[in-house]
Amino acid sequence: MRRAHVKAWVVGLIALAVSVIVFIVPFWFILLTASKSASEAADLSLALPTQWQLFRNVVAVLGTGQGMVIRAFINSTTLTICSVALMVVIAAAAGYVLQRRQSRWNLLINFMVLAGLIVPPAVVPTIWVMQSIGIFKTMIGMIMIEVTFGLSFCILLFRAFVGTIPRELDEAAIVDGAGPLRLFFVVILPLLRPVMITVVVVQAVAVFNDFTGPLYFLPGFGNETVQLTLYNFQSQTLNQWNLLFSDILLITIPPLVMYIFFNRQIVAGMISGAVKG
């Protein structure tokens, strides 16, 4: 048994060393560079800053372009909260009925859900449709786009999970006289809480980190999201690496917070959804 024990330690230490170099060093680099002055940051090395000015850099970043970064955070937050809230409710409703109600349409619906996952959005025709309705370059339009393209993943996960809720509960509620809305919102939805957390966290991170979507569908002054400002930042802060990396750090904070709080649920949810297919 000792040999196995030693092996566990040796392999573990090697794995730790490799993981530190491969996975931790880049983040350490981001943190270090974000804390340096502009001239020190230009060296792009792992040397420790002579003076930790992380706070000053962050303030400078928030102040550039007349508060452009702050505006971007507001935009991104609005977009994320609204899309995820809408997505969860709509997808839960659809996944729930998909699982419970057997009909000929199910084959078509399943195919469409799969298509939503695979098919890349046709950009210009989508813009054309949005323009005709008058929602192009509006926050509402962007929210609808995010919801539409996030639906497939959510429906899949919800459908799988609803399958684990015994129908007896439904029947009991129906016998009690519950109508469809009450059945869904009062009986089913609370039971979906574990997968709902997974869906919310995963999709929130996805929408927050979405670059291409707002790039195409929400252009325009005042509409920038954090990913877009980060991308534009590299030309605006030429050779001011400390500011660029401060921005990267700022943008990494919301997902980091999500991760720290919901790590276990994300893992559990993804596992149940993925392996069950």
Partner: protein, 306 residues
Amino acid sequence: MSSAPTVVAGAPVVNRRRRRWSRDRAYPTWFYLPAALLFVVLFAVPTFASFYFSLTRWTLFNTEFIGLDNFVMFFQEPNLVKGFTNTFIYGFLTSASKVVIGLLLGLLLTGRVVGRGFLRAVIFFPVLVSTIGVGLTFKVLMDPFHGLINGSLAVLGITGPGWLTDPKYALLSVAAVDVWKGLGIATLIYIAGIVSIPQEYFEAARVDGASWWQNFWHITLPLVRPATTTVILLSLIGGLRSFDLIWAMTNGGPGFTSDVIASVIYKQYQAGFYGLSTAGNVVLFVVVALIIIPLNYFFLRREVDR
């Protein structure tokens, strides 16, 4: 509880219909409505419209029907063809890497290893971080003269190449970062798959005196197949459609050497060639569908056999 109606002549018909009717009342179809509405308007309509618009010259102001000229142009230009081949290379390379390395890491992190929890957390975190952020960070790290990677190699006496500036390596370097970022999910799925293998199999094998390799080849690998399937499908779809990382790191450069279909489409959109860009979208859609749908079917059949 099965709900497949059994065709039995006679009595139960009335009861069955009433039961189904009341059951269906509890699961109204209008629950689909919001999803269906969004889906049709913002997904189905544009996708079908794209088939039409790809056959036109489109300036957003007016359209001119030109038949298959866009597609001819698409496949004639060497840069666009290069984008095509790059897309395949990128998609299959990243997918294969994630499958192999993901499986290895999954095995490692379900075995007896010190610091397992920490390792799992560390590997998964890049998945959550902004793609643009990762792209810009690695672009800086990979700078041939000032970047940390070549700096560290120099300490060991090796002159690092221009990771993103050498046409031979640009696409591969971006693919490497893509794998770095996406490995966490693959590993996670594999861990789930490995953990769900019933221990009885391993016990039986131990009684038979099986070696580690035999365990792996005859028990783990086959039983982990659902996880492998999922990883292959997800990573391939993502890899073939990848845009963000490539755009942030190389813009398709140097020149056109790391262009993929998605970045080609965007460049044409930027230039205002909306018809051509939409044709590119159609090509991408066809490519992804032609690869994924048969693959999906193939996996489904294999699974049914089990």
